[in-house]
């Protein structure tokens, strides 16, 4: 029998305090699309880093067509025929497409030849790209194309894709899948990493499920239901957030023709964003990364100033005020980036509790800090939101993503906001923490607050939101009720086509 393309036997990787992979074993055959399924932190990324030569496993062996394979650097992996598309792109904003592609190759041809090849290959695979454009100016979908073309130009046998669809609109996902199926028909193998079950069911013929670094199941995803795959992945039956039907109350947050210039060179400026949220309502704002989410959060939190009338809190113009004044009015926010934006990594949880709670929780009097009050506040958050930590004195960076996120969201919810804005509330958070966070947001709305959830995870938005709007290129579509929205309509909204249905017909 012919040996498989790549076989992994008993691979183990230990980090201080964490076993990232424990005796992982599976095979990938020629022309196979193999799914690697698991939650955040299940050890998927560590495993593919080992295959790509970025880390060396502590134990276990890999074989490539029956021959021992132990890459010590990505260049060795590439020489063998392994290529990888990263989850967080390995691209350079201030360089053009051709230069970026050249940097990912071991023996790139001269830039001009390469540019011609990029144009050719990208058209052949239905992913058109202009080699002379600056990467920083590309959309997330186009940036991913750069990564994929970079891989394809090296003619790999095995293509590793780490969460490739998290940055794509449903339509772009379709294009990508067409490309991947074309590759399979050419006899290439794909290792497809994801936690999105429907995708895997439509694309892959084999799946290896990881949990806490171990292989906990193998399946043909086409034969399984999404539910059974999910339970394999999580190891317990999932709690779906529950809520009573919304009773929209009075208008709390009004945003009218909000335009903000992005402070960063490759950011997206907001243009004429208009929406309103009522008490008890959850508004979901979807959109592919980099379409103005950070700017929208910054404009609402007060980090970016606008015209006073552009943002109104219960009728009061607040567009020109800073974060402290807005907090005083009950407008609270939780940004996407936990370490460095929502929390200071090297500061203790007590100090981080003070970060937004200073005035609303009266932790500061006449400018002087009441440290014991701040500690009490931090401990209350830890207790109520089940933050797993040895205590409030621990530095924020020592917490896992899920626990820190619970702390950050909890810190805002504990301050009884009348309007709460969250960006990517469950990004990189394990399933049980994610469920807890979603439930907390729903409870908050239930209690009469207006909640805005900005997220790239459409499933999450469908689960928690009453109304849905999409950000595209800094513009926001008109919000529509979630009830009755189809994936196609959402896709068109995300793609920037206003008013879903009519455009869908055209």
């Amino acid at each position: 029998m012919k040996p498989p393309l790549l076989s992994i036997k008993g691979l183990t990787k230990v980090y201080p305090g964490v076993v990232a992979n424990s005796e992982v074993t599976f095979d990938i055959g020629d022309g196979e699309v193999h799914a690697l399924l698991g939650e955040n932190g299940a050890g998927k990324s560590t495993l593919v880093k080992a295959i790509y030569g970025l880390i060396t496993p502590n134990e276990g062996v890999m074989e490539w067509r029956g021959v021992p394979y132990a890459p010590t650097a990505p260049s060795e992996a590439r020489a063998t025929g392994v290529a990888m598309v990263f989850q967080h792109f390995s691209l350079f904003d201030a360089m053009d497409v051709a230069e970026n592609v050249a940097l990912g190759m071991d023996n790139p041809p001269p830039i001009r030849e390469l540019a011609a090849k990029i144009t050719e290959v990208s058209h052949n695979y239905g992913l058109p790209l202009d080699p002379s454009r600056m990467v920083g100016d590309l959309s997330a979908g186009e940036r991913q194309r750069v990564e994929i073309i970079r891989c394809l130009l090296q003619n790999p046998q095995l293509l590793i894709m780490d969460e490739p669809t998290s940055v794509l609109t449903p339509q772009e996902v379709e294009i990508l899948f067409r490309t991947l199926r074309q590759l399979r028909s050419e006899g290439k193998s794909i290792l497809y990493i994801s936690h999105k079950l429907e995708e895997i069911r439509s694309l892959c013929e084999n799946a290896t499920v990881l949990r806490l670094g171990k292989v906990v199941g193998r399946a043909d995803p086409r034969e399984e239901s999404a539910r059974s795959l999910a339970e394999m992945m999580v190891g317990q039956s999932l709690h779906t957030p529950s809520r009573a039907p919304a009773q929209p109350g009075k208008l709390l947050l009004e945003v009218t023709d909000l335009s903000v210039t992005s402070p960063s060179a490759f950011g997206t400026s907001l243009r004429d964003v208009t929406f309103a949220v009522r008490a008890g309502e959850v508004l979901g704002i979807g959109g592919v990364a980099g379409n103005g989410q950070d700017e929208l959060l910054g404009a609402l939190s007060g980090e970016l100033r606008t015209a006073p009338d552009a943002i109104r809190m219960a009728g009061d113009p607040v567009g020109a005020t800073g974060p402290t004044a807005r907090r005083a009015l009950g407008l609270l926010c939780a940004p996407e980036e936990r370490l460095g934006h929502a929390a200071a990594p090297d500061m203790s949880l007590t100090e981080n509790a003070l970060l937004t709670g200073a005035y609303r929780e009266k932790l500061v009097r006449n400018g002087f800090i009441g440290w014991s009050k701040a500690r009490d506040f931090a401990e209350k958050i830890i207790l109520r939101f089940d933050v797993r930590t040895p205590g409030a004195h621990v530095a924020a960076r020592a917490l896992s993503g899920g626990n820190l996120q619970k702390f950050v969201i909890g810190r805002e919810i504990m301050q009884r906001p009348s309007v709460l804005i969250v960006n990517q509330p469950t990004w990189g958070v394990d399933a049980s923490a994610a469920a807890a966070i979603r439930q907390a947001l729903l409870d908050l709305a239930q209690a009469g607050a207006a909640v805005v959830v900005i997220s790239q995870d459409l499933d999450e938005l469908m689960e928690v939101a009453d109304n849905f709007a999409a950000l595209n290129g800094g513009r926001l579509s008109a919000p529509r009720p979630v009830q009755g929205l189809t994936m196609d309509q959402i896709g068109l909204m995300l793609g920037g086509a206003e008013g879903g249905e009519t455009d869908a017909a055209a």
Partner: protein, 365 residues
């Protein structure tokens, strides 16, 4: 192969142990340096670190010098430490020190020979104001035009030095000085003189000011929301903006405070130990204070200890120069090495050093 592993929590032990270890290592390295210069290393080290305080022969002169030298170092360093914590790098304290002295001397000389008790307080205000003003240049350029404050504050040192030279040889020259460069002797001008407060202690008003500044900074950093914002801005600038800190105001505050402190130090120096404005009035306190701030871990109490230690190297260095004919520059090298060792050992606070094969040998370099 050695490799580094980030600690989840910064090590408390190494936070305190690094400065001490750095001092010890510097003594060893300094000893080797002295040996290469053909001096007895043990004698040199003893002369620098022990004799100024405890030798019968020198201590009576040297001991008071400790406070004389430590005063300005501490005063400038606590000011700098606030900015350094916020990630605002004022490295032009030397210039602010000079301008503070020039403004204070200017006020004193303008009222010469007044006997009013108001002259001295007015000089204090003028000194602080001068330093503040000089530091406002990089502050405003930073907030208005996003200009790098490191380069501007440093370049302004050279401008201040030229101004000092112009003052000493021109507009502040002593009219009764027979044409020699240098201003009037402020020690002979009772209303402006900053004399020792208690005989043979070396304590003058500058020392008192340093003490107040240390206390002030301690309270600011430990208890006040402004101090918290300073540290937040230094560690996580984006989180600071999210918390409601206006970066521009912080720049103005930090540069202004450190400038005012440096200006004050210059004022007390010119009215006290230096006696007058001369071309070489500035002795590098503004730069040594940077070392003091780091050695003191940017903590007010640490800075007091570090200031005393560096003052000791100044005095001991002079002693070694006198007794062993050790070049003056050797002490500067010594201070530079101290900062090197300190920065090198700092790694231990945030990382564990592990022996063993690196997961990727190439990154361990």
């Amino acid at each position: 192969m050695l490799r580094l592993e980030k600690r989840p929590n910064p090590s408390k032990f190494w936070n305190y142990a690094t400065p001490v270890t750095a001092v010890l290592l510097t003594m060893v390295a300094g000893g080797i340096l002295f040996m290469l210069l053909g001096k007895n290393p043990f004698e040199a080290i003893k002369l620098i670190f022990w004799d100024p305080l405890f030798s019968e022969q020198f201590a009576s002169y040297s001991r008071p010098q400790l406070l004389v030298k430590a005063g300005p170092l501490i005063l400038i360093a606590v000011g700098l430490s606030i900015g350094f914590r916020a990630g605002i790098w004022n490295i032009g304290a030397e210039g602010q020190y000079i301008i503070g002295a020039l403004c204070a001397a200017g006020v004193a000389l303008a009222f010469y020979p007044s006997e009013s008790w108001l002259v001295f307080p007015l000089m204090i205000v003028a000194g602080a104001f001068g330093g503040w003003l000089w530091a406002m240049i990089p502050a405003i350029l930073k907030t208005r035009f996003n200009t790098n404050e490191i380069l501007v504050s440093l370049l302004l040192v050279y401008v201040a030095e030229k101004l000092l030279a112009a003052a000493a040889t021109g507009f502040m020259r002593n009219p009764d000085g027979a044409g020699f460069p240098g201003s009037r002797n402020l020690n002979q001008y009772p209303a402006a003189a900053n004399h020792e407060l208690f005989a043979n202690t070396g304590l003058h008003w500058g020392g008192v000011a340093a003490f107040i500044a240390v206390l002030f900074t301690y309270i600011l950093l430990q208890r006040h929301i402004l101090g918290y914002h300073v540290q937040l801005a230094g560690q996580a600038p984006r989180a600071a903006r999210f918390a409601g800190v206006a970066p521009a105001r912080l720049v103005v505050l930090c540069l202004g405070l450190s400038g005012a402190f440096a200006g004050l130090a210059g004022m007390f120096e010119v009215a006290g130990p230096a006696r007058q404005i001369t071309i070489d009035f500035n002795a590098g306190y503004g730069f040594t204070a940077i070392i003091v701030a780091f050695l003191g871990r940017l903590h007010p109490v640490g800075i007091v200890l570090a200031g005393l230690l560096l003052a000791l190297t100044y005095i001991g260095g002079e002693l070694a120069q006198f007794m062993l004919n050790l070049p003056a520059a050797a002490i500067q090298v010594f201070q530079g090495m101290l900062l090197f060792f300190l920065l090198a050992l700092d790694v231990l606070s945030n990382y564990r050093i592990r022996l063993g094969v690196s997961p990727r040998a190439s990154e361990a370099v």
